[in-house]
Symmetry: C2
């Protein structure tokens, strides 16, 4: 089955609002083995909408439409659907929808504004779809040979309606997908390691994407390769090839995989962050349930914070400077003690744009990792602007901590930003 997605709204084509519905819907469709042949986004214009509806109904067997079902003059999806159906019949008032609208307002202690009556109108051959989270009912109709399902734009309303009205229309799964995430190497290095696996006509199909320095391999199997086992085997093979950079599958983040490694062993961690000032901590605490394994940390921005809260010796600061391997090590040791944690990672560096020197140019970062019978410092030089340096430094700290705990034999595998010389 082929699908197409149409999003409607001036706010989208003016660039004021980010359309996220298309991506959400395509992801769900892909999970069910339905391939999207196209997304389109058009403004609140009747003819543009009707034209897009007809074109997509020609190209796909199911067309999902979001937006344009509100009560105001610029909400034209009902009319566009009528025009695309092309039977010349006018919109009719759907009595059950009108009653539901009336109830919706009554439940909120208000009378239904006259303007909302529009929302109960439908093409004669269309069916109205109940919306429990808002006033806009959806619509389902045939345009040519395709089924068109129109859903309201707000994700809070659209998503439950998708589950209720679209999923039952989809075929049984004929495709499966999976994903492996990695950190520490560049996309071209990792793609090269995958070799022939990335051929476009291979099944399962493997593709790589990079986002926020996390490189992911996406696997899609169809037909005989659509089984959970086939995908699982492919993912396992990619994890083996990408070791030790691969850290998780599916929706698991770097911080989440670190948490799993800690929790499986009944261990806890802490952080001492200088140049990242809380960024690694915010990644860690973005994980729900992280209180089970994260004790806390110190944003050791000022030197006094490094000294007073993390126990870095003033003499170490004086002798080596705040951005140095000895300070990174003492910070991580100190964080373990101050937060009563089993493991700690520390980050100290020059995020830029100012503060660089010949010996320690912008992007120079030392990361310390300390745990039971384990101490290490790594030096990196991250290219790019402040935000990128900080993001990569925070993620490197989490990745190294995870390696030290879960794959210690490979802890020394170099990251792409590695600086060999510690001096």
């Amino acid at each position: 089955m082929k699908a197409a997605i149409l999003s409607i709204g001036d706010e989208l084509t003016l660039g004021q609002t980010q359309d996220t519905n298309s991506r959400w819907l395509a992801g769900r469709l892909a999970d069910r083995g339905v391939r999207c042949v196209e997304f389109r986004i058009v403004p609140d214009e009747l003819s543009a909408q009707a034209r897009a509806l007809r074109a997509l109904a020609d190209a796909a067997e199911i067309v999902l439409v979001t937006g344009g079902l509100g009560p105001t003059d610029d909400d034209l999806t009902r009319d566009a659907l009528r025009e695309a159906i092309g039977d010349g019949a006018p919109l009719v008032l759907d009595q059950p929808s009108l009653a539901a609208l009336d109830r919706w307002f009554k439940d909120r202690g208000r009378a239904m504004p006259e303007i909302n009556k529009r929302q109960a109108m439908r093409p004669t051959t269309a069916e109205c779809l109940t919306n429990d989270a808002g006033t806009a009912p959806g619509l389902r109709a045939k345009v040519g040979k395709a089924i068109v399902v129109c859903l309201p734009g707000p994700p809070r309303e659209m998503e439950p309606m998708y589950a209720r009205f679209v999923e039952p229309l989809l075929p049984r799964l004929e495709m499966s997908t999976g994903v492996v995430h990695s950190f520490g190497q560049g996309e071209s290095f990792l793609a090269e390691r995958l070799g022939d696996r990335m051929h476009r006509d291979r099944n399962p199909l493997v593709g790589t994407t990079a986002s926020g320095s996390v490189v992911s391999a996406r696997v899609r199997g169809t037909g005989a390769q659509a089984s959970v086992q086939a995908i699982d085997q492919e993912l396992a093979e990619i994890e083996r090839i990408w070791r030790p950079y691969a850290f998780a599958r599916g929706a698991v983040t770097l911080a989440g995989s670190l948490g799993q490694a800690l929790q499986a062993r009944g261990l806890t961690m802490a952080l001492a962050e200088s140049c990242t000032g809380g960024l690694a901590g915010s990644l860690v605490t973005a994980e729900s349930g992280s209180s089970a394994w994260f004790r806390g940390g110190v944003m050791s921005y000022a030197n006094e914070a490094k000294r007073d809260l993390c126990g870095v010796a003033q003499s170490t600061l004086d002798a080596h400077g705040a951005v140095s391997a000895p300070v990174a090590l003492e910070l991580a040791r100190g964080a373990c003690v101050a937060l009563q944690a089993d493991w700690a990672a520390s980050i100290t560096g020059v995020a830029g744009p100012g503060g660089g020197s010949d010996a320690k140019p912008v992007g120079s970062v030392f990361i310390g990792v300390v745990g039971p019978s384990f101490e290490a410092v790594r030096r990196f030089r991250y290219p790019g602007e402040r935000a990128i340096v900080r993001d990569r430094a925070a993620k490197s700290a989490l990745a190294l901590l995870r390696l030290a705990i879960a794959d210690r034999d490979h802890f020394t595998a170099p990251f792409i930003w590695e600086v060999k010389d510690h001096a």
Copy 2:
């Protein structure tokens, strides 16, 4: 002038990656008075791309394409452009692009992989566009009467190339723009306060957008209202109307405006973060030069961290629980002392999804603000999922700290998520 935007990539139509380029481009085009008639997104398929290119070239005078310029087999934009041009000529090797590619790899101490040679290929009638931030040159060509400009997909590469190669193609427009940012109230409340200013045919035109709970008013003046003074006067009026929620203009963030307030007074700050675990600190330290006014902070996740590092009394924790007004106050006091800062904000709450109770449901957050002759605690209840609760809590702390320092008379103005009852 009418524009259309085409984004290319399986990762987009499979719902694995969110296309943000279309929105970004449409916003920039709108700023220059160019209207987008349509966005399309198609997979890495030659015929689908060529078909979309031809259709959009029929509908618009300029077509912007992103993606599909990489070195691998599934990067087909060059071939699709050739097919859409339809002159039957094969791709040719562009010598200057090949030389640039070669240099790009040499500068990084590597030899150019054979595979990257593809990226120097172009249709005979197309021109290659230099990419300073990556290996993929762009392409510019005529398809029918339309100009088609193909840019690489990564925003870091695409955005500077847009400025360099697309903006000169747009019509001149006597126009100035400006923006005021606010935090603490909802978009509808703030838009209502702007009243008639938001009329679509007003000049200067005022529109509101919301992103990450920051509500911004964007001002665009044309013709007689395009002067710097006219825009400045309009921005000042909006700041007056939105007081005390308006915090900055232009590219200044909430953390940046807080930093300005501190630095102007020679003051410093610290943070104690429980449920946000470093998120506020990461916003603060995202500002370059923040070391002048940010001393550091504590991610006081475990109760022991609140006690040992921020001096919260065990008896206070026992009597009121970690999520309480008294603990918020002691955390902020303790952060001031531990970090030797003039001001501190603290955050303690239930970010969810677990951990809520009847008395303190998910989203309940206490924020403490302490400074010279100033102590206050505010209670909020943020709706939404964990990430949203944390984001709003971190930003609320920074906004309150800024008000206490820079606009104390208005410190008590309620935020939209305010809970009056502190019990």
